[in-house]
């Protein structure tokens, strides 16, 4: 399987990455090599095998639906790039 520059651009956009021309070329080549490694999986027939998402196939633990966390908003926003009046600031989204 080989990855073309167009594929790289599409994937980079999905991943919200902005790659330079040189980075795109490098990505196309290294991703092609990685996909060749990955494609070794296709050598085994797995039609009757159930996927294993998690090593122990366990169910999510449930807890009672009650408030356990305290309000730490100010503490958590101290490390934000930009916050004001309890809000995270980002570039304008709606004109």
């Amino acid at each position: 399987m080989s990855i073309e520059l167009g594929d790289v651009e599409n994937i980079a956009h999905l991943a919200r990455l902005d790659l330079t021309g040189k980075e795109k070329e490098e990505a196309a080549s290294s991703m092609s090599n990685i996909l060749n490694l990955i494609d070794q999986m296709q050598s085994v027939n797995t039609d009757d095998v159930a996927p294993l998402a998690h090593a122990f196939d366990t169910a999510q633990r449930l807890r009672e639906d009650k408030v356990t966390e305290t309000d730490q908003r100010d503490e958590l926003q101290k490390i934000a790039p930009e916050a004001e009046d309890g809000l995270f600031l980002v570039p304008k989204v709606i004109e």
């Binding site: 490098e26 990505a27 990955i38 494609d39 122990f56 958590l76 790039p81 570039p91």
Partner: protein, 482 residues
């Protein structure tokens, strides 16, 4: 005193041979002398360490000391530490100071341990050589032109160079065991879910597991006693009861059944490394164990399946780095999309971007079944192989790595070459099993690691097996420190 292992230090502190303050000062002095070259620590917490050491000595004088009280340790720089930067080897988190402690960190604080600092690592734990760190490569204390392995290279080098009594680390595909092997120390990756992941910067959530880097198995058992247990803050934390991991250390090994996977002694394994491993296994036979061959039929597919599953999970986990709530944000974004894209492109290094790209591709429409579901099916086959083998044997042994430590810069041309570094360790993470690497010999003056893999939650048995070997041999006492 710093040449002693954690267990010996614990006894010396209890006997009043020296104080925690004296011990902490000795480590800080050694760090000041060695770290600028080794680059094992990215942050040294001198003031905090000394105040914790004073508190530990005070607690001891009042009769309130436990086994880890006053023991100076280091944390891999992906465990969140309140008030101390947690950078995870990345420019993205270069300014990140967590407002809370990881459960693992909190457990060591409760045990009275001293935090010397945070150790260097591959960026977001993605690497096998510690060369992808934003803070530069760590050097191997045995030969400073070589890598210490990765991703927990800083923790491994810190223990090997006697810059701490023990260190925490994490292992997603071999990140504890391979650096332990390259630096001649004892590395333990517990069963998935044995140690809480809460407060650990996530890489691949179904594979990540925290563990220990120490001089010996006894040291590891003492650290695991502090780390293991159910944590309701981590939904995948296991409710299987934690044990006293030191209790079985001295059990005789008579009757132990060791499985040797044919696939781990095939093409690609360095002949001198193989000789060390076979001699180590012969030593176990002398201790009363029996050895038989087992087959892990699908182990050759473990790297392939891993490089779908781990990047897929990483691409989802790392989507949180968007420049909004914490971490790096690009300068003067013109709009939201520009902010996301430039923040992520400027904040992440090459290998991290590469894995996000691979993961995004594997999860994208049209490829999900062919890659992601296929990899999960292979994951089941790999787990089945281990389950079948464990019907016949108690533990599985083989080399941790096909060779000894390699030169800095020698494997950076093709990422696949680096990915194949973890060929013997990755399957263990896919199956969720506990694994160790212990020193088993030297080849041309460089350490060789023996990997020991156990059944689910059989950490006490693994540590027993490793400890008995270390009672009979002295490979774990070999040190690069003159």
């Amino acid at each position: 005193m710093i040449e002693l292992g954690l267990a010996a230090l614990s006894r010396a502190l209890a006997d009043g041979e020296f104080s925690s303050v004296e011990l902490t000062q000795a480590y800080l002095q050694q760090i000041a002398q060695e770290n600028s070259d080794l680059n094992a620590y990215v942050t040294v917490c001198e003031e905090l360490a000394l105040s914790q050491a004073r508190a530990a000595d005070e607690a001891r004088s009042q009769g309130n000391a436990g086994p880890l009280t006053g023991i100076p340790i280091a944390h891999k720089d992906l465990f969140c530490t309140q008030g101390i930067r947690t950078a995870c080897g990345s420019k993205m988190l270069d300014n990140f100071i967590a407002p809370y402690n990881a459960t693992v960190v909190e457990n060591f604080i409760k045990a009275g341990s001293v935090t010397l600092g945070k150790t260097n690592m591959d960026e977001f734990a993605m690497g096998s050589s510690n060369e992808t760190s934003f803070y530069g490569p760590v050097k191997n204390p045995w030969d400073r032109s070589l890598v210490p392995g990765g991703s927990s290279g800083g923790s491994a080098a810190a223990v090997a160079a006697r810059l701490c009594a023990g260190a925490t680390a994490t292992d997603t595909g071999g990140s504890i065991r391979q650096p332990a092997s390259f630096t001649g120390i004892t590395g333990l990756k517990p069963t998935y879910g044995r140690v809480s992941r809460w407060g650990m910067v996530a890489f691949a959530s179904s594979l990540d597991q925290a563990g220990t880097m120490t001089q010996s198995a006894e040291d590891a058992a003492m650290m695991l006693n502090v780390m293991a247990g159910l944590d309701l803050k981590d939904s995948t934390s296991s409710d299987t009861a934690a044990e006293d991991y030191t209790k079985d250390l001295d059990k005789p090994l008579a009757g132990l059944k060791i499985g040797i996977p044919t696939q781990h002694f095939s093409e690609g394994l360095n002949a001198d490394v193989e000789k060390c491993i076979r001699e180590a296994i012969a030593e176990f036979e002398k201790l009363g164990a029996t050895v038989k061959e087992v087959s892990l039929d699908n182990s050759h597919l473990s790297v392939s399946a891993y490089y779908v599953i781990a990047p897929a999970e990483a691409s989802a986990n790392l989507s949180r780095y968007d420049g909004v709530r914490y971490g790096y944000r690009c300068k003067d974004p013109v709009n939201l999309e520009d902010m996301y894209k430039r923040t992520r492109s400027e904040g992440f290094g090459t290998e991290v971007k590469r894995r996000i790209m691979v993961g995004t591709y594997a999860l994208s429409a049209g490829y999900y079944d062919a890659y992601y579901i296929k990899a999960q099916k292979i994951r089941r086959l790999i787990k089945n192989d281990f389950q079948k083998a464990f019907e016949e044997v108690d533990v599985i042994m083989g080399p941790t790595s096909p060779h000894t430590a390699f030169a800095i810069g020698s494997k950076n041309d093709d990422p696949v070459t680096m990915y194949l570094e973890d060929i013997y360790t990755i399957a263990v993470n896919l199956a969720g099993l506990p694994g160790m690497s212990i020193p088993a010999g030297l080849v041309n003056g460089l350490p060789v690691g023996l990997q020991i893999v156990g059944k689910d939650f059989a950490e006490a048995q693994l540590l027993n097996v490793a400890h008995k070997f270390q009672q009979a041999t002295d490979w774990h006492e070999k040190s690069p420190v003159k």
